[in-house]
């Protein structure tokens, strides 16, 4: 299937999710491999710092009060800063202080860490001159087309009602795509205000210049539920697509322009 192009892919499992890298362009093999290795190494380092499953991670120690914010590394402080901005920008629907069993709240910035880490990882690929790339970390995608004559990356948006189908294909040359929903992991996004699982939507997809913000907006929108489209419509520079619980679709006007007519696919099964 690689046919006439030199597209190269590699996948590793980091931060509990599959991380796929696709490269397309003139970069020498050795540089491509080095860049991909750097991406995986960076994500493993992020995991060591931020994993809430690791007792000894900086974030766990911070959550237990063993570390003060001032004593944390610059990366942690940068993420916490991002979480503050995200909370304000989303009216509280994105909040790193998540309800925990027992009625309290614990710090878990994982929702922002993912987009933040992947966006930083993508910069390592951007160092490959004239190389197109996309990086897909568990459904969050950062991408770039490096040359004017490169074709856009065509990113399929998974249909949450049937995950072997796409509801749309986005032709993209830069930026990020994030999808929040329940399709693969059950109800894992809660409304931070109530602690209860979010209802009303099957999935939200957001695309724009920053994967970090696409992810924040998609997560916050999903937590909002049914009235998310009203809020998504106010975002500047970010296009959104929503699948409601009843299976109907909503797209922002910016997304409407971006959407391409899906070419008919032969039925797969």
């Amino acid at each position: 299937m690689s046919g006439t192009d030199n597209q190269l892919a590699r996948v590793e499992f980091v931060m509990g999710m599959p991380v796929s890298i696709h490269l397309r362009g003139p970069a020498p093999e050795a540089r491509r491999q080095a860049a991909m290795e750097a991406v995986f190494a960076h994500l493993r380092a992020v995991d060591r710092t931020f994993s809430t499953y690791r007792q000894d991670s900086e974030i766990s120690r911070l959550a237990r009060g063993e570390l003060s914010v001032d004593a944390c590394s610059p990366q942690v402080r940068e993420v916490l800063d991002g979480c503050n901005q995200a909370r304000i920008a989303t009216g509280g629907y994105f909040d790193p202080m998540l309800p925990s069993a027992g009625g309290g709240r614990t710090l878990d910035p994982s929702g922002l860490v993912k987009g933040w880490a992947v966006e930083r990882a993508a910069r390592l690929l951007a160092e490959l001159d004239r190389e197109d790339y996309y990086l897909n970390a568990g459904g969050d995608i950062a991408l770039r087309c490096a040359r004017p004559d490169s074709p856009p990356w065509r990113i399929g948006i998974e249909d949450p009602r049937r995950t072997d189908r796409m509801i749309a294909i986005l032709p993209l040359r830069t930026g990020g795509v994030a999808t929040s929903g329940t399709a693969h992991r059950g109800a894992h996004i809660s409304d931070p205000r109530t602690g209860s699982p979010a209802t009303g939507l099957r999935s939200v997809t957001v695309t724009g210049p920053s994967l970090l913000w696409a992810d924040v907006y998609a997560t916050a929108a999903f937590a909002r539920g049914r009235d998310a489209p009203d809020w998504l419509a106010t975002l500047t520079g970010y296009a959104s697509l929503v699948v409601r619980e009843d299976g109907t679709l909503w797209s922002s006007t910016t997304m409407g322009r971006l959407l391409t007519e899906k070419r008919p696919t032969p039925s797969a099964a």
């Binding site: 459904g139 399929g156 072997d164 696919t265 032969p266």
Partner: protein, 156 residues
């Protein structure tokens, strides 16, 4: 088509189509199979005909069948030990055996799933899809995902 380098005998270097395999244990199979890291012949042609089970074809009574244990290869579904049936110098069957874990038996490792994934990947490619954004896929779910098929299509 992803090229799966098996390290089998050089005559089998064109083996790629795990997708077209089917169980073929051969009529004379008995006992547990050993895992070999290098390919070796399990059963050389004998005087008797032995058409692989599962074949709808009727082998000529004089067909000589060789069964080769193709060793273990890394695929995107994990380590796979492969057994290949040859007849007349051609591959007539491929069986993917699970890594023995104490429960040695032939299985059509996800053959249906593999065929479906392959069909999906081909459909995706005909629709020009390069990657997929969806709600977070766990490591376990990855193997059945379209993204995994799109990745495998471009492994070096």
């Amino acid at each position: 088509m992803r090229r799966i380098v098996m390290g089998i005998l050089s005559t089998l270097s064109t083996l790629v189509l795990l997708f077209s395999y089917h169980t073929s244990t051969g009529a004379g199979a008995s006992g547990p199979r050993t895992v070999a890291s290098t390919p070796h012949i399990v059963r050389a042609p004998s005087g008797t005909a032995s058409a692989p089970r599962g074949h709808a074809t009727r082998a000529a009574p004089t067909t000589q069948v060789t069964v080769v244990d193709g060793g273990t290869s890394q695929t995107r579904w994990g380590p796979v030990q492969v057994e290949v049936t040859l007849s007349g110098g051609r591959i007539t069957g491929v069986t993917a055996l699970q890594q023995p874990d104490g429960n040695r038996r032939d299985v059509e490792i996800n053959s249906r799933a593999i065929l479906e994934l392959r069909a999906q990947a081909l459909a995706a490619q005909s629709a020009g899809i390069d990657g997929v954004s969806g709600a977070t896929v766990t490591s376990g779910g990855y193997r059945e995902s379209l993204q995994s098929a799109l990745d495998a299509a471009h492994f070096g």
